[in-house]
């Protein structure tokens, strides 16, 4: 039963993942607009922004595998600042072509920070639950594993 470890984001599936992320965010945006009855005045530029952010976010998250020797909390915090920097820089670049609301930077920071914190908290809880469940399994397996003798 050997298991092969696969990266969730690899060179082969990088583009499909970007497309999936882009589709999901775009769908979310369209559904939100539809349910709230509002219309986005900067439709084209926002879809391009979503694509750029999807691409860069996938790229940054893919780096996770190459940072094995760095403590995970540092990776999570580092990735947060890197992603936030990319997102705000993208908004700054777009600000040269379209008008950005005065609260735009703060709104975008919160829009990114809140889901990121929720995601990190879910990961943290799941991480500890996984260990707890694994310890229970190990205990049960040991009770059953009568054929494993001490050397």
């Amino acid at each position: 039963m050997p298991l092969i470890t696969e990266k969730i984001i690899s060179r082969k599936n990088f583009v499909p993942i970007v497309c999936i992320v882009y589709t999901l965010i775009s769908l979310g945006k369209v559904i939100l607009e539809f349910t709230s009855g509002t219309k986005d005045p900067d439709y084209e530029i926002n879809f391009i922004t979503i694509f750029i952010i999807s691409f860069l976010a996938t790229f940054v998250l893919a780096l996770h595998y190459y940072l094995q020797n760095i403590p995970l909390p540092l990776v999570i915090i580092g990735q947060y600042f890197l992603l936030l920097g990319i997102i705000l820089s993208t908004l700054w670049l777009l600000g040269h072509f379209v008008d950005v609301a005065p609260s735009g930077y703060m709104d975008l920071t919160w829009s990114f920070t809140i889901p990121y914190i929720i995601g990190a908290a879910i990961y943290y809880i799941q991480f500890h639950l996984e260990i707890k469940n694994a310890n229970k399994t190990l205990e049960k397996l040991k009770k059953l594993g009568g054929h494993h003798h001490e050397n």
């Binding site: 298991l3 470890t5 050397n151």
Partner: protein, 151 residues
């Protein structure tokens, strides 16, 4: 290598005598191959050589391209590869925890999360090894699979 086989209807037990001019890598490989039939490995260190029952091994580690088998309080060099171990003994509780280590799940006392969200694996012989993040999901998946098969 010359192979002779003899049909002896009166024999009560099958046996193989293996003659070799010197103790070298090929010799060890052949002995390992034959030993694998009964879930044992041929291990050697500076002083002696020994047949190691697979269930007595805590973990395998690659150090400077050589594979070592760790028992409760002894270390043996074995002529095999981690991939071969996983293929042969994946069903016996051996799972990869890093690029250079394969561990016997039945020798784990418990898993512990450290402050850096790394998983420490505490073994029955009081040793502690680290579960690499890249192999974490595969490790937990393997445990789940064992649990499903066992209960």
């Amino acid at each position: 290598m010359k192979i002779n086989k003899y049909l002896e209807p009166n024999l009560t037990e099958k046996y193989i005598d293996f003659y070799y001019p010197k103790e070298d890598a090929e010799t060890a490989e052949i002995v390992n191959y034959l030993s694998s039939y009964k879930n044992t490995l041929y291990g050697r260190n500076n002083e002696e050589a020994k047949i190691l029952p697979i269930h007595s091994i805590y973990y395998f580690e690659i150090v400077e391209r050589k594979c070592y088998a760790y028992q409760k309080d002894s270390v043996w060099q074995v002529d095999t590869l981690l991939q071969s171990i996983l293929e042969s003994y994946g069903n016996a509780g051996f799972v990869r925890i890093s690029k250079s280590m394969v561990i016997n799940i039945y020798k784990i006392r418990m898993l512990k999360a450290d402050i850096n969200m790394r998983v420490n694996i505490l073994l029955d012989n009081d040793e502690s090894v680290i579960l690499n993040r890249t192999y974490k999901n595969a490790f937990f998946k393997y445990l789940k699979q064992l649990r499903k098969e066992a209960f």
